[in-house]
């Protein structure tokens, strides 16, 4: 893990993902604002059980209304992912505005990659269990 400036020809990930997340947030807001049709969950329709993604739209809706507690309860995984995205966007905006060195993993440490491979499926399963328990 190092802090360094971009090499010639290297992708400017900070700029790309900052713009993409702003665009995605704008589209999500516009979609809900104009009341456009939101997709139904086929898994829930067929089985009556929430799928791992159920509650995501309601989570986003509550975020836009400022009801962060309800947003978290709708789908904690989506809420926390959004929170991480906001943190990344703040980092990206700061880096770009002040032209600071970027954080780069030229070679991801093995313990970090192994931890991620265990933690991510675990978080998904725990989140799914919560959604089923709370009957979202």
């Amino acid at each position: 893990m190092r802090w360094r400036h971009l090499r010639p020809g290297e992708l400017n990930h900070e700029l790309i993902w900052l713009l993409v997340s702003i665009a995605a947030a704008f589209i999500a807001w516009a979609w809900l604002y104009f009341g456009l049709r939101t997709p139904i969950c086929l898994f829930h329709e067929f089985t009556g059980i929430a799928c791992p993604g159920c509650g995501a739209t309601r989570c986003v809706r509550h975020v836009f209304r400022g009801d962060l507690t309800y947003a978290f309860l709708m789908n904690p995984m989506v809420f926390l992912t959004g929170l991480l995205l906001v943190v990344y966007d703040l980092y990206a905006a700061l880096i770009l505005a002040l032209r600071l060195p970027r954080l780069r993993f030229d070679a991801v440490p093995r313990f970090l990659s192994n931890t991620a491979r265990i933690a991510i499926p675990l978080v998904i399963l725990l989140n799914w269990a919560w959604l089923i328990y709370s009957k979202v």
Partner: protein, 386 residues
């Protein structure tokens, strides 16, 4: 003439040219294996070190060894034919090391120079110098991958490049992605996807909105009493509003999706330890796929618009038509996943199974129903070898 070659991080040899040909035929070395013989300034991939005409013998002067850092190849060569310790680099990324655009291996930053924004190592020097002297394009380890046609749109023409690229993606995906350029920035494939995706999205939105307005008009005029003008006007307004919304927001949606899809896919590839190439490769493959499938999406959009027209005019017939839509959509979805699996597999040079797993992981997470599709695709992946 004696040759030395690199195998498993160790220097092997000396071998004769005949032995070298035998090793190549037996698959023990490949055209990308680094080789050296007296007279060469550094280790070079076999395919470039040995052109069809045998090179002339070098003068009998002791070669100047390159600086020996990084992966050190131990030499047991006799004094007279001393082999320099070569900077052969590493196949896997080391912290802070940079990938050579020609050999594809990783080197310390002190052994990299930048030409036209691309990093090159000392091992690439002979080929780079030859390219500069002849005025040719700088070589990359992807030389030979020049497609698809959109990459040569200056020569082919705008429309011809679009048509050829779409045909290639739809009709011969394996060949298309096996010869797809994997480096060179993200602008070209992004532009291709943005143009086609936006055009098809806008046309589909317009057709659907028109179908809605026509259906509303025919239902309202046919109902007893003729209906009130106000609801009709509101519905027509909504149809026009939907059209305007589509025209404005479709390019933004396409642009965002152009990054989000490959971003999620590449993240899943990394999670499954199946991303030997950088994000740029995944981005290029999926953007050419998204754009290349635009004609198919247009046909599907026209069908949906017609069904919308029918279903709003006659609920009974419309209900049957909707089932037909779902019947058409499911094979299309499976076909799309198959093409994406081929695209990722051929560009990242991983197995079909790993590509399928990476593509289906987010879908399975998002909707457990996708397990059925996952099993179908998994079956196809298992049957198709790479």
């Amino acid at each position: 003439m004696n040759w030395y070659y690199e195998s498993g991080g160790q220097q092997q040899g000396p071998v004769t040219e005949t032995d070298l040909d035998r090793l190549l035929a037996e698959g023990k070395i490949s055209p990308d294996t680094l080789v050296w013989r007296e007279g060469m300034s550094g280790w070079t991939p076999l395919r470039l070190a040995r052109p069809t005409a045998a090179p002339a013998s070098a003068p009998a002067a002791a070669p100047i060894p390159p600086v020996a850092t990084g992966l050190r190849l131990e030499s047991s060569a006799p004094q007279a034919g001393a082999v320099p310790s070569a900077t052969a680099g590493s196949d896997s990324p080391q912290p802070g090391w940079i990938r050579c655009s020609f050999t594809g291996r990783y080197f310390p930053p002190s052994e990299i120079i930048y030409l036209e924004g691309k990093p090159y190592s000392a091992a690439a020097k002979p080929q780079v110098v030859a390219s500069l002297q002849s005025g040719a394009v700088l070589p990359t380890f992807d030389t030979g991958r020049e497609g698809p046609a959109w990459e040569q749109r200056q020569a082919l023409g705008f429309m011809q490049a679009i048509i050829q690229t779409c045909k290639a993606v739809i009709l011969s995906p394996k060949t298309t992605f096996a010869t797809m350029k994997r480096e060179g920035g993200i602008q070209t494939p992004f532009l291709f996807n943005l143009i086609l995706g936006s055009a098809v999205g806008i046309v589909t939105q317009i057709l659907t909105s028109i179908a809605q307005m026509v259906a509303i008009g025919s239902v309202t005029s046919g109902s007893a009493g003729g209906g009130s003008a106000t609801p009709v006007a509101a519905m027509v307004g909504a149809g026009i509003g939907g059209m305007i919304f589509g025209v404005i927001f479709t390019p933004i949606q396409v642009a965002a999706a152009a990054f989000i899809g490959p971003g999620i896919t590449h993240g899943c590839l990394m999670l499954l330890k199946s991303a030997p190439r950088p994000f740029e490769t995944t981005f290029r493959a999926l953007n050419y796929l998204y754009g290349g499938l635009a004609p198919v999406q247009l046909v599907f959009g026209i069908v949906v618009a017609l069904v919308t027209l029918v279903s709003m005019s006659s609920p009974v017939v419309g209900g049957t038509a909707m089932l037909g839509i779902i019947g058409i959509a499911l094979p299309f979805v499976i076909w799309y996943f198959y093409l994406a699996m081929v695209a990722i597999s051929e560009t990242q040079e991983i197995s079909r199974g790993k590509a399928a797993a990476a593509l289906l992981l987010p879908v399975v997470v998002c909707c457990g129903l996708a397990l059925i599709i996952a099993l179908l695709i998994g079956g196809i992946a298992a049957m198709s070898k790479r």
